[in-house]
């Protein structure tokens, strides 16, 4: 099964990136193969809809679980439709978070923010 984490560097010991849609890279970890692949997050280049594009990219890569600090409501719509579960990360590296997930120590990420798009514009 594939788990995705937004990371600052292409390293399993990297810190988790605070942004989902605009993270520079995603680490895709396969729990069966115990292997890691790093994807350049093309969504970070988007003018708008970054969360949507990032979510779509992960779905297209058959990711089933995401570990992240936050994500916006647009990304949420896509992930819910694709049956992807999102867990809240703990402080630490991507490697430590994967271990925590495998030991059932992570909680589901419940707090979805309104997104950094044009909300609030009247």
């Amino acid at each position: 099964m594939r788990i995705a984490l937004p990371v600052n560097d292409k390293d399993i010991k990297s810190e988790i990136c605070p942004s989902f849609g605009r993270t520079p890279y995603f680490l895709i970890y396969d729990t069966a193969e115990k292997s890691s692949v790093f994807l350049d997050n093309l969504a970070a280049q988007s003018a708008g809809g970054a969360g949507i594009k990032a979510a779509q990219m992960l779905i297209d890569h058959c990711v089933k679980i995401i570990i992240a600090p936050r994500y916006g409501e647009n990304a949420a719509k896509v992930l819910i439709d694709g049956d992807i579960k999102v867990y809240k990360n703990i402080a630490g590296t991507a490697e430590e978070n994967i271990k925590a997930y495998e030991n059932n120590q992570l909680d589901i990420l419940a707090d979805i923010h309104p997104g950094f798009h044009n909300h609030g514009n009247k």
Partner: protein
């Protein structure tokens, strides 16, 4: 089919006096139109307090998916340059991000996408004494004010008389849209290096569109005026120099139209109006 003269009032930055000038010129003229193209931050209505006679919805087309015909090929998702479409187990549309280009409907080989109308804002038309006011409001969450501005400009196309267009600040595409069909441009500038810098920017824009223009130097103090210097350097006509005036500032900050009040210097707006009319005839 009316004949009109469109006077656009613009500045490189906000707060220089665009609204002060356009509102007072429209009021001094007394028979034409005041058009507020600053649809993100409309302010003109705070001065005119118009009686609204008509409201028009501004509509754009957005895609509608027929899920029975959709085969999940994702051609639409892959086509959309704005990330307005996604596919989890079915096509999801993000209306606020959609730019209404119509591409997804064209690319769908299952004929599963049709288009439907969506309101993105309104244009309102009102009246204040004999000045007609036209303004617009974007709906919350909409990405661009351009459809609203386009509708405003479409409305005034065939009207008669002098039309004063209060433009948005800056030089982005929404400003270009507002001055595209102007007959004359009034550039408003402050006497600081910020003001001169922004005047240079907006002058470049006006030259790009080859529009005749003149400058109003606002809030002038004694001493060196970098904006004035810029005008002299480039040979741009200075229409009027409005000194920093506490009384005018106070009237303005209370939403009062100087030419309709007991303001001692209201003559300056009338002579500015005459100068502009001369330039345009």
């Amino acid at each position: 089919m009316g004949t009109n003269k469109r006077i656009a009032v613009l500045s490189g930055k906000g707060g220089t006096g665009k609204t002060l000038i356009s509102v007072n010129l429209a009021a001094a003229d007394g028979n034409g139109y005041y058009v507020d193209c600053d649809v993100e931050e409309p302010n003109g209505h705070l001065y005119f307090k118009p009686q609204i006679c008509e409201e028009k919805a501004v509509l754009v087309l957005i895609p509608k998916v027929n899920y029975e015909l959709c085969t999940g090929c994702k051609d639409c998702v892959n086509f959309c340059k704005f990330n307005a479409l996604a596919f989890g187990k079915k096509v999801i549309l993000f209306k606020e991000i959609c730019h209404s280009c119509g591409g997804c409907a064209l690319v769908c080989s299952d004929k599963a996408i049709t288009e439907t109308e969506k309101t993105v804002g309104i244009v309102n038309i009102g009246i204040s004494e004999n000045v007609k006011t036209v303004g617009g409001m974007m709906n919350t969450g909409e990405a661009s004010g351009i459809p609203i501005i386009k509708k405003i400009l479409e409305y005034i196309k065939d009207k008669s008389g002098y039309i004063f267009i209060d433009c948005p600040p800056g030089s982005a595409c929404i400003v270009m849209e507002s001055i595209k069909d102007a007959d004359y441009c009034i550039l408003v500038a402050e006497p600081t290096i910020f003001g001169a810098h922004n005047l240079a920017m907006v002058y470049e824009l006006v030259r790009l569109f080859d529009k005749p223009c003149g400058v109003v130097l606002n809030k002038c103090t004694d001493g060196h005026n970098p904006s004035e210097e810029f005008c002299r350097e480039k040979g741009i006509e200075i229409l009027v120099k409005i000194p920093f005036d506490k009384e005018l500032g106070e009237l303005n900050s209370n939403g009062k139209i100087a030419v309709r009040e007991d303001y001692k210097n209201k003559e300056l707006f009338y002579s500015l109006l005459n100068k502009v009319k001369e330039a345009v005839e």
